[in-house]
Assembly symmetry: C2
Homo-oligomer: 457 residues x 2
């Protein structure tokens, strides 16, 4: 544990304690100032970004990664700037009254949303992310320590210098201290900070599964993130063929690298047209099906009967490795497929093998659907809809902090809500507990909930 990391974490904690008391108006005002600062210094940022691009070229970075580094490609920079203002304009996530209860006359309990405190956010090389994370953190009243991918280090430094300067120049007006946003640069810094569980409240890794797994295994601080996205779709005996075809194609092929893409298909063979859905997934989607022996036999048999068996299908149907493939996130045009004989068997398979991300049933049978919706232990459970809907934008969260597969605090796509927690406030007039029944006194509690629309604090 280095002194530096302790001092960074302590600075963040102190800034977080101040930030917690700042009004939404001031937090939003600062975001507008940050927007203006980034806009006014676009040329400095462009120079830094060109440096990163040149280094990437020298280091022979893959083309797809290279494109991500270019902050001035198309309208990316303007979109980033607009994003800062969009977050500023969101409803205040802090100070929302979630419960108001009269404990006794003049003694009222409130449950109120409050910032989590100090965030450690780790993200990859897309340079625009730093502005997004900064906005989300400040808007939600949290101090943040940021670490971006090393390929964009010059851009990150420049942007973070500008942000710090803006915060500092406006400290007297907004009250928000400079330590509210800090940039760190090395993996060693991250490792050191993961030990600062006295100061840091939540780690948000946005990046590869390997990164998330490694972080989860090396810290006691709660981690908001998803290590795997092993999503399943169960095609029930009472499925509608058209829905099955469309949903499977969308869920597998529209963005195979997405964490909400389907990786496992469970087929109930009592659905007589099941093989058509698979055939269509393969032919239209170019998907390779990793299938069990019994399913392969039945699949080929049906295709033979229909006179539709050919080389393409043979090439796109391979033997599944049952030990591995049902726990695998392919992230490619591959899919593990097997038969299950009931919705119950499907639920059991999914609860054992899925990563608790998002799973769907395709059926017209309400009873089966309700059982599936109740039985699946994942953050998202869908009936007749593609798993690809698991996304903050699609859920209407305005902005997405990440997707969580942990079971407590925040689950699924996480908006600003995931960056706040709550506190209980009591406002009294000098009341003491020992006056009440249960602690030696005679007064009874009223415990009368107050209509939240009538509460203003």
């Amino acid at each position: 544990m280095s002194t530096t990391s302790e001092s960074i974490a302590r600075t963040a904690r102190q800034a977080g304690n101040v930030l917690k008391t700042i009004s939404n108006e001031e937090r939003s005002k600062l975001l507008y100032k940050i927007h203006d600062g980034l806009k006014a210094n676009a040329e400095l940022i462009r120079k830094a970004n060109i440096l990163d691009l040149e280094n990437a070229k020298k280091n022979g970075l893959a083309d797809s990664l290279f494109k991500r580094l270019d902050l001035f490609k198309g309208d990316k920079f303007d979109t980033m700037l607009q994003g800062v203002k969009d977050v500023a304009d969101l409803e205040d996530p802090v100070g929302k009254v979630k419960l108001a209860r009269e404990l006794d006359e003049g003694l009222t309990l409130y449950q109120i949303t409050a910032p989590v405190g100090v965030l450690l956010v780790i993200f990859e090389s897309r340079p625009e992310v730093i502005a997004n994370i900064t906005s989300l953190s400040i808007k939600s009243g949290n101090a943040a320590i940021l670490k971006g991918g090393k390929e964009s280090i010059n851009t990150f430094r420049e942007i973070s210098d500008i942000i710090k300067r803006v915060i500092s120049e406006n400290e007297k007006i907004t009250g928000i201290p400079q330590g509210a946003i800090q940039l760190i640069e090395t993996r060693q810094d991250v490792s050191d900070l993961l030990c600062q569980d006295d100061y840091i409240d939540l780690v948000v890794p946005r990046g590869s599964n390997a990164l998330v797994k490694q972080i989860k295994s090396s810290t006691k601080i709660p981690v908001l993130g998803h290590a795997d996205g092993i999503c399943s779709i169960y095609v029930d005996e009472d499925a509608d063929l058209e829905k099955a075809e469309r949903i499977l194609l969308d869920a597998k092929t529209s963005y195979p690298a997405g964490c909400n893409a389907v990786e496992t298909i469970l087929i109930n063979p009592k659905f007589s047209k099941w093989w058509i859905a698979l055939e269509s997934l393969s032919r239209k989607g170019n998907v390779v099906l990793h299938v069990t022996d019994d399913l392969k036999d039945a699949f080929f048999h049906e295709l033979d009967k229909a006179g539709r068996m050919d080389g393409f299908i043979k090439e796109h149907t391979v033997d599944v490795n049952e030990e591995v493939d049902f726990d695998k996130e392919f992230l490619s045009l591959d899919c593990a497929v097997k038969f299950v004989s009931t919705v119950n068997e499907a639920v059991n398979h999914i609860n054992e093998h899925s990563s608790k991300h998002t799973d769907a049933i395709i059926t017209e049978n309400e009873e089966h659907a309700e059982y599936f919706l109740k039985g699946i232990d994942s953050s998202g459970v869908y009936w007749n809809a593609s798993t690809r809907f698991a996304d903050g934008f699609r859920y209407g969260f305005g902005t997405e902090v990440g997707i969580s597969t942990s079971k407590i605090h925040a689950r699924g796509p996480v908006g600003l809500d995931g960056l706040v927690t709550y506190q209980y406030q009591i406002r009294g007039q000098g009341q003491i507990a020992s006056d009440y029944i249960g602690s030696g006194g005679k007064k009874a509690f009223i415990h009368k909930d107050i209509d939240l629309s009538k509460v203003s604090l």
Copy 2:
């Protein structure tokens, strides 16, 4: 990691997956059956309890602990039985719709409460607790693995045998499998189970601080509990003397061993009558004040001036150990006391030293109070009320699972709500994501929230 612990955890997970699908009616019905089973077998339980009491006597257990073991003292057994029915009659914590949003025509998103899954609950020797925890777990749809203090082992075994028998006899009716409640007996079992983070979702230790600390440091599973209760009260310059006297006395002396008792008092010396509040705490409450040098001088000076300095006060005023005492949970009639010169200084002291449990301000100054309520980073922040109100019964939660000092998931006194999480359900008609804007399609999302009073699932 022993095979036994893995098999216990796996059994619990499977039972939890089933329990998740069981209706509130069946869960409550089972609790009534458990009530009946315990009542009918009172004599068996009494015999086991007598065995524990005899062993305790042999082992020379302290009198106060001995009393806690006696399940048939007064109406304790009947209260325990009534508690099972009371939990059965609570509102269903599972399946509550917290958000309903039309994403598009015929495509609806719901956020719905769901059981956490598998709980590992560790508690001390009070024999009645096992029935309470069993009720809370089943009511909230969670499977539970229970470990009680060894002094009540015979009583726990008997009660858990009866519970298992009742669950098993009613499995065909209620659908709840026997694995829903399992008892483990040794500390080794606990250590082994703390490694089963694939199967166990939440650890709830109810017991000594040492126990909670040890568990927190030895598991990756989230822990719901409080290691320390270092609560502070700040007596502001605009405090009301009578309120200060009453609240300090109640918060320190009504139950000094409670985690919500005050341990640190911060005094603003601009409040001219501060010394009277301390004098009264000492004389009426027999409290030993651990004070800083400057406070001692001022305190004695004021008492001298008023002609009220005497041996009692001298005996009850000792030098504080500044390095240690402001981070200490005395759990006795002792209190650390110092001066702070502003509400801001008080907030900073508390955010640095308190255990984020419950802290209070005594003041008639609204501005100071609002600043304190906003600035303090603890689960409970009170204005003119005793910290002793931090309690599930007093908050009106019906029943208390525990008190949490962690900052995410559940904070403060935790009722049944702390044993549930949420899931997102989507109910669609075959919609796919790539039809929508942002994923290559042209359809726009509606994102229209539905009035929850009109939602029935």
